[in-house]
């Protein structure tokens, strides 16, 4: 029998309410050293990636969020008890550091879609385009126009990222920002926000959204700190891949 591992946490000695996990299995707290791991029994080799399972995983991790900030395991983490205990004892310092880093925080997400219609204006081909040029020169002139456009988009995306970071300065403990200048979904950010700063963070983000009506925002949270867990698990089976 394998264990499905949901998250690691400190400061919890028992689960006060019964929690159902993947495949409606009862979740229990496995104590090891001074840490607790939320696990449930699982008797297959792989975990189907379904909406139901994903929601069950999220619900279990979230169930302890009002008591402590857990470090979530990656969805589909299957282990046996010995592997889990060995992992924790050999990585104890790193786990403690991570737990301290996310302590009393939640993850808030900001995604931004940029209005691409502003890009429709084409750069002039200038001196590289004239009727006497051959097809090869015309091709290079077109490439030059594309490169200039790419560079402009990259600069705009970097500016957007810097603006967001500067606007939230003092309200976040950490951030994970992904910028994709060439895509419509230009920025995806996860912010680690201390719970006591949750209200001011929300107010600031509302202000940010109002400041830039040209951008489309998707805000979500509070989430357990999925983007900041970063546990390098070395178990043999994740998603059934050895």
């Amino acid at each position: 029998m394998k264990l499905y591992a949901y998250c690691l946490a400190s400061g919890i000695d028992t689960l006060y309410e019964p929690v159902q996990g993947i495949s409606a299995a009862r979740v229990r707290l496995l104590k090891t050293e001074d840490l607790g791991v939320l696990v449930s029994d699982f008797d297959a080799d792989t975990v189907p990636v379904t909406r139901e399972n994903a929601l069950a995983h999220a619900a279990v991790v979230r169930s302890v969020l009002d008591k402590t900030t857990p470090l979530p395991f990656r969805f589909g983490t299957l282990v046996n008890e010995l592997q889990l205990r060995n992992y924790i004892s050999t990585h104890k310092d790193a786990i403690d550091t991570k737990l301290k880093h996310v302590s009393e925080c939640v993850e808030m997400s900001v995604k931004i879609i940029r209005d691409v219609s502003a890009d429709s204006q084409r750069e002039p081909l200038e001196k590289y385009q004239d009727n006497e040029q051959g097809i090869g020169a015309m091709f290079l002139a077109e490439k030059r126009r594309e490169i200039i456009g790419d560079e402009r988009r990259a600069a705009q995306a970097a500016e957007l990222s810097a603006w967001l970071r500067e606007s939230l300065h003092g309200l976040i403990r950490d951030e994970q920002v992904t910028v994709r200048p060439g895509e419509k979904l230009v920025l995806s950010a996860a912010f680690l926000v201390e719970m006591v700063k949750f209200g001011p963070y929300r107010e600031k983000v509302a202000q940010i959204c109002a400041e830039r009506p040209d951008l489309h925002f998707l805000l979500s949270g509070p989430w357990p700190p999925y983007s900041f867990a970063g546990l390098e698990l070395e178990f043999k089976s994740q998603f059934g891949v050895s």
Binding site: G136, L140, R144, R180, L185, H216, F217, L218, L219, S220
Partner: protein, 121 residues
């Protein structure tokens, strides 16, 4: 840890946007490009290898294009050299397009996620 009563932390996560459909479409594109599961069989190995090789060729092709444009802008190429270089790069692009069609790969599939560094292209 007890939360301060002043902390307005909601019991459930909320998702807020005025552009739901747009985000659903974009997030679906992102998840479509994520490797869902490693499934090793003869056909997928061939396809995966082609994807990797063509991604690297595409990356090099783009570098060559940039280099050619920089040289053109720098004025150190004669009109004949510009024409010749442009034609060579155009043929390379056409050939790569042909290979992508042969392996049924879309433009957006030719990329590598390098984790925290970002994407290759």
């Amino acid at each position: 840890m007890e939360l301060s009563p002043k902390t307005p932390l909601p019991a459930e996560p909320a998702i807020e946007t005025s552009h739901v459909e747009e985000f659903v479409e974009q997030l679906r594109c992102v998840t479509d490009t994520l490797p869902s599961r490693i499934n090793i069989d003869a056909q997928s190995v061939e396809q995966g290898l082609a994807k990797l090789v063509l991604t690297l060729i595409e990356f090099i092709r783009r570098l060559l294009e940039k280099q050619a444009v920089r040289r053109m802008e720098g004025g150190d190429l004669s009109p004949e050299q510009i024409e010749e270089l442009g034609l060579a790069l155009m043929r390379l692009e056409a050939k790569l397009q042909e290979l992508k069609t042969q392996f049924r790969l879309a433009d957006e599939e030719l990329n590598l996620d390098l984790g925290p560094i970002g994407r290759l292209i």
